[in-house]
Amino acid sequence: MSENRSRVLLFDGAMGTVLQNRGLASSLPAQLNIENEAAVYQTHRAYLSSGVDYITTNTFSINDLKLQGSGYSTEELITAGIKLARQAVADSRQPAKVVLDIGPLGQLLYPVGTLGFEEAYQLFAVQVKAGAQAQCDAILIETISDIYEAKAAVLAAREHSNLPVFCTMTFDKTGRSFSGTDIETMVTVLESLGVSVLGLNCSTGPQTMIKLVRDIASYSSMPILVQPNAGLPQYRNNLTRYDLEPLEYAEYAKQLVEAGASIIGGCCGTTPEYMTACRKVLTGVQPRTIKPKNYTAISSYAQTVTFGQEVKLIGERINPTGKTKLKQALKDNDLTYILKEAIAQQNEGADILDINLGLPGIDQIAWMKQAVYGIQTILDIPLQIDSANVQVLEQAARIYNGKPLINSVNGKAESMKKIFPIVKKYGACVLGLTLDEKGIPSTAEERLAIAQKIIDTAAAYHIPKKNILIDCLVLTASAQQQEVLETLKAVHLVKSRLGVKTVLGISNVSYGLPARDNLNKTFLAMALHAGLDAPILNTAKQEIIDTVAAFKVLSNEDVQAKKYIISYTNKQEHQLKTVKAHQQPLADIVLSGLKEEAIPSAQQALKTHTAEYIINNILIPTLDQVGLQYETEEIFLPQLIQSAETAKLALSLLQDHLQKSSTPKHNHKIILATVKGDIHDIGKNIVKIVLENYGFAIIDLGKDVPPEQVLSTAKDNNARLVGLSALMTTTISSMAETIKLLNEQLPDCQTMVGGAVLNEEYAKMINADYYAADALQAVAVARSVFDSKTF
């Protein structure tokens, strides 16, 4: 499909519209494949008479979930649909292809929704297998508004058939899909997954698609398919009509071809007349030549980072090597710590985050998946998946929402054999390290040779050179001083001779020497000058950020120093402001909820008191006072939360001091979860922070948590108290089920429940031990269960 063609190809138009016009409206049009074969067959024939090259089967958006209770199976409706289309083509004696139509599942995928990626994949796989079995000629995945769903569908299509895959998505006027994907990201992700054709359908009329198609053409090396609606919808007398006549539509189709489309079809509101008009108008019109694009890019679901245009920073901090707090967080099951590190790095200026969770003794696959899901929920920064474990890389690349960068492969035959199939399958970029069976060569030329070998071997796996980045490896100046410059020479050689982008881990250079930041920033400047595209570094270091900002000015990347001027003018003002520190007592700070002053005030208090004293004699009594104020309605909810957040900040500092002074600390563990099916967790998070302030160790399982997971976590941690929340009447049954399981298996473990749809009476009804109306009552429950007042 990727070759350039001399004529525009045509898809058919809408099936639903034609059936509806014949008075056959149905919420499940695909059932007509069995109940009214003639209507479907005749529609195909009508489109074939318009001279289309492809007809799509009447199987839009049918899957095992949507068909529940319909009396039909996905397989039988697809088999019947393909048979009708095949018959229509045979009878028409035209060389048209039969394309299996696959639409969206109708569910949002986890973590935005609750349908798991693998479940989605399986639902698509059923459709693909049925289609391949019934001998369709190609697969069309269409009307997709979530790139993650597109990924599940394309993977299913590629793994369960050898058929060409077409994929079209829907975009609104703003140039984004419902889930936030932009055009560049759609092209980057779909191309990397190996579709044969990509494009747009539905959502708007052809008018607004012209600009979008032009954008697609500027990024895509693939043919573009466009299937617009017949204009914009208008509702009259309870019926939807579209505002374009066939000939007007066809004129727009011509403009779409001029914008870069080479295959045209129709969506809602189009009929065979529209396609006949298109055939007429497009005869003799030649599609634009498709030029292969060779940029190197990775994506999240909503953002694409292209290497080479500007220096891109890869944040290195989510890696437990040498990081005590991260190691502890992994042991404590504390995903929040990782998410906060991700947010911090993005705010500091990282363009990409490296994620490495290689710590012995933890389930690295599970952690990597959790981290990827978690970051995807809150940020749209692309990720570099980093692991020495091939399984971890594969699993993470699979569930990653976008096109990841895999870290890493190297010149060893064994490494390439294991890593390249994953890179190919998931359409990732990969970082190639210039070392092989003999180790890291000392000369730049030898490293260049390894890079060449990596690129050549990748080509044998059909991995294009643009998806490979090379790391020429930084050696420490303390041990191999004479080779520091060889690395930079290698960067230059790799870029100029091989034309690939380069990455280096900067901080390694200073290992074992004093004043490391000084060496790091100088080496960074040298490496950037040598042509380094993406340094991996600690974005918290101001010297590093300053060096990059300065480099961008001096290398003419930051044109007219615009960004530099804005960022450094504001910074000076900010510094002036922060000099003025208030020194109010900690109790007042907490009562007023002044978050920014929590840490300075706690530091001040530590000058005169021990951490233990401050917690027990200042913080806890103040929190009690806040609680009382809330109960007597002297303050309201946001003020309660503000005070709790302020206390939490102070507490985090004080706890560091507690650990240092080795005061024994009780470890009263409480497990919190929002029950399965429910995703309203803000109330639970308020309870969490308040309990933490009172010294309870919270294991937060998040939302939509299955009963079995609550049970196994409670078992593993010997938990005496489990708190469950639900905000929907429909999920109270999940809560009841979780409690039943806990009562059966862990009779000594107590349960407390909360949420808007509960009260004391309901709590009793589902056999919960306690009901907590708010965070303060949760504290009272916890105190009575553990029979404790404070730390």
């Binding site: 508004s145 003020q639 995703i679 009447t729 429909t730």
Partner: protein, 214 residues
């Protein structure tokens, strides 16, 4: 500002002293809501059929179950069904704030709830005006979850309106609307006006200090 009063009420405000900083945060959250909301909706009219004590939408044959909806639509010959969503961007921001600024998350969450109610009010008003042109009245908005009108009906409504495909509003296997800040509702069309549904009747919260006793 009407929104703000409602939002504050949602959060339990009863005239407590609010300092400048919190006041500013509350103002900012209002702006955030307006910036983040990706309002999309579908409104369609259906005929109401009554068959052996069953109330059905036509076309589509969705059965409206429960006594409350039957009572609510007792005088109606047809109805509007609507589906409204604020989209997923605001969800992502809420998840982000829950990690970085829980106070702001709480306020934004309340704003989003009030905001979508207001969008529904505007749509209801448009429907009321259209009905008035034909000398017809409308009932109050009635959503799954009010009275014994079951939440399980969300699934049928989303399917009926094709809301998943057309506005990205889906329903999961627990009949939960996703994105979360979304509403579906039914509005009856009839000759005479009908009793109103109060805010309290619409709401799920059991232990609520604002609940009107009658």
């Amino acid at each position: 500002m009407q929104y703000k009063t409602e939002v504050l009420q949602y959060l339990g405000y009863q005239g407590q002293a609010v300092d400048d900083q919190l006041h500013y945060t509350i103002e900012q959250c209002w702006q955030d809501t307006a910036d983040l909301a990706q309002v999309r909706y579908i409104v369609k009219q259906f005929d109401l059929c009554r068959r052996q004590n069953e109330l059905l939408l036509k076309p589509g044959a969705v059965v409206l179950t429960g006594e409350s909806i039957k009572k609510h639509l007792a005088e109606s010959h047809s109805c509007y069904v609507l589906a409204v969503t604020l989209g997923s961007k605001i969800e992502q921001q809420l998840a982000y704030y829950q990690l970085t600024d829980l106070t702001r998350a709480g306020i934004l969450d309340a704003y989003a709830s009030v905001y979508i109610e207001q969008i529904c009010d505007q749509l209801t008003e448009q429907i009321r005006l259209r009905a008035a042109q034909n000398n017809l009245q409308i009932t109050d908005r009635f959503s799954p979850g009010y009275g014994d009108f079951p939440l399980t009906l969300q699934t049928a409504i989303i399917k009926l309106l094709r809301a998943d495909v057309d506005i990205g509003l889906t329903v999961n296997q627990h009949h939960l609307l996703l994105p979360r800040k979304s509403i579906t509702a039914v509005i009856g069309l009839q000759q005479d006006s009908s009793p109103k549904v109060t805010k309290c009747e619409r709401c799920d919260v059991i232990e609520c200090r604002f609940k009107k006793s009658n």
